[in-house]
Subunit: 434 residues, 2 copies
Amino acid sequence: MTTAGNNLDPWYGSYAERTAGLAASEVRALFAVASRPEVVSLAGGMPYVSALPREIVTGAMDRVMRDRGPIALQYGSGQGAPALREHILEVMALEGIRASVDDVVVTTGSQHALELVTKIFIDPGDVVLAEGPSYVTAMVVFKSYQAVIEHSEMDEHGLVPEALRQKIAYLKAAGKTIKFLYTVPTFSNPAGVTLTWERRLEILEICRSEGILVLEDNPYGLLYFGGPPPHAMRSVEEDGVIYLGTFSKTLAPGFRVGWALAPHAIREKLILANEAAVLSPSSFTQLIIAEYLATADWKGQIDTFRGVYRERRDAMLQALSDYLPDTSWTVPNGGFYVWLTLPANLDSKSMLPRAVKELVAYTPGTAFYADGGGRNKIRLAFCYPTPDFIREGIRRLSTVINGELELLNTFSQTAPLPLQRDKGSLINPPANLG
Amino acid sequence: MTTAGNNLDPWYGSYAERTAGLAASEVRALFAVASRPEVVSLAGGMPYVSALPREIVTGAMDRVMRDRGPIALQYGSGQGAPALREHILEVMALEGIRASVDDVVVTTGSQHALELVTKIFIDPGDVVLAEGPSYVTAMVVFKSYQAVIEHSEMDEHGLVPEALRQKIAYLKAAGKTIKFLYTVPTFSNPAGVTLTWERRLEILEICRSEGILVLEDNPYGLLYFGGPPPHAMRSVEEDGVIYLGTFSKTLAPGFRVGWALAPHAIREKLILANEAAVLSPSSFTQLIIAEYLATADWKGQIDTFRGVYRERRDAMLQALSDYLPDTSWTVPNGGFYVWLTLPANLDSKSMLPRAVKELVAYTPGTAFYADGGGRNKIRLAFCYPTPDFIREGIRRLSTVINGELELLNTFSQTAPLPLQRDKGSLINPPANLG
């Protein structure tokens, strides 16, 4: 054996450099723990698929197999099924996007669109700008192609344009190559905040003038609880934005169907990368979704989901007010997540084993930063558990937090520690549920 | 705009270096042409999915949605559904493989396993050894990660061990890093040949002593027409082989479900890469296939497919004997492909437009070489058209070939060109169909 192996892995010396960046995410390790039935999991962002009537799915499947079985079972186009791409235009129109069916590329969930965009753009050492905090598994992808992730500050109205401008200037002065800005502008993961319309325009203008592509990831935009959020950034900027959408949250993630809407030349390269990766996305699941969109009241179904998640958001905010009045949190107007700020002297990651012992799970804030930030932050997902479980989960969490604070005070050498309020961004006063 | 764009693509200067290797394959351009109904396509390797009874699929779907709907619609494990992985062990046992369910990673078709393996192993400039000729879209993946593809000679019994030994010595002397040997040892794509058992052992021994991983891609192994082929290479070598399997040929490609069986440490990295790429493969299609394998006569169904493809192989060989007695071809004992050798002075790629005008399509041999080889070769796929269409397609092809030869003779300045028999490997005498 001429390669440098070891006893545990004879191929240890053979991996690509990029493979060193492929570490298990903090969220991943949690899934095993949090799936025990006695644990209230506020960790994973699993949609509540039980709110989807089974007959809607089986009906669409039966018709597809009856009318187009040999097409559904066969390889398809690397760009995705034309019928589905037509319907995707209707979905995006709800957020103000007008586009050609030719510029849509169907992917194996929007996660795979993230992978493909990163593959075609990122050389080792290139910079990806991302919100701080940012979607954990997007960062896993960026790192797997050896990108350097640089966070840009956000507050309760999303990315802060002036901070972005300064960050870009700083990075360019340092000779860095910035390939794109990755953002979840609407009901962000994990912060639960939404970029205002004025800021959308300002950030697009900054990126345009700096020659930075915007990667707009929008899994949650249609899941609003009050009025609809601002239109997508892609609705006003065609050449500078790659828009990612998915059926994982408005229908079901088990199908693994998402899409990218990309400028013409980029779209061509995405199709080639998609073909190399999977030949074609699943014809079977694409045709079922196309049939569903053609025949079912899919807008009504999204409305059903909105109702489910709104009720759960309300339950979480109420429980936070009741049980954790000394912490602060964001108030999401849609989506799946609340971003909780603990007293500054607490460490949410080291607290997690104790939380699991108390039968509640969450995702520690550090998972959402590439730079070690988020130590006293927690992402709370309200999408999956019922309102009662959410309330019980927050109650358990309060026990853990209060216990940690007591512990800190007990072992403090000096006077009891005052509650240290975090001075960072993303603090809201306790929620107005109205 | 500070990046180097152009009028056609403002992001022209922004792509990763690897993106230059993402060119449209020759096969891809063909699909558009060959899909016109009046063309007999011997080009694409599309399975004949109409041989799969519709009720088998709809029955499995209905039961999955009835009994495990919320699981089928939800995100799953990045490694794949445990129930499916158990059944995959049964499938692989048919080829002599004994393995742990822990070492199976389900992927979005085995194409995605190729992508993931390449991503975790290939740095720019690394060498991938591949049969000459080799599966075109595997080479697209290797190139997309900037691998250098080096072909190793094969004959009608598959890879030639001595040639492989020499190739490795030559490359190592030149200071190259060889990461793996990619091979389709059974009913290969495109050559249609099968590596003998003795050679399997010899090649494994060579790779073991040289520290080269073997990537054994086996989509066709169960589709044999006579007796079963030699057992998989993985059946005798666990640490040095990544084995790839798929349901695309034994069930249907529309589900996009394949798998990798990998040594323990590699498997861990494949799971991480799979999670980064797609979070999890489709629970929906995985559960349907698991249900199908648990309840249907799937071995009987594979036998049905064998009968369909054997009849088509026979039709193609008979038509070649009847219409193209002056060419030579391989005689596959399974799978989808015959590899045709034209007279040495013909160029199958430049001949293709004329063939399409005559309403027959094929894949030119150059698609299957990274080095410009295969100029006078053709891949003929017998998997999709009915026997009558295959015969008509070969008749049309003979018209084209004879027309080309006439043209060459007409424009020859000297005496009429003699038919130049190709002296390379992969020539068989006209087939004995018995």
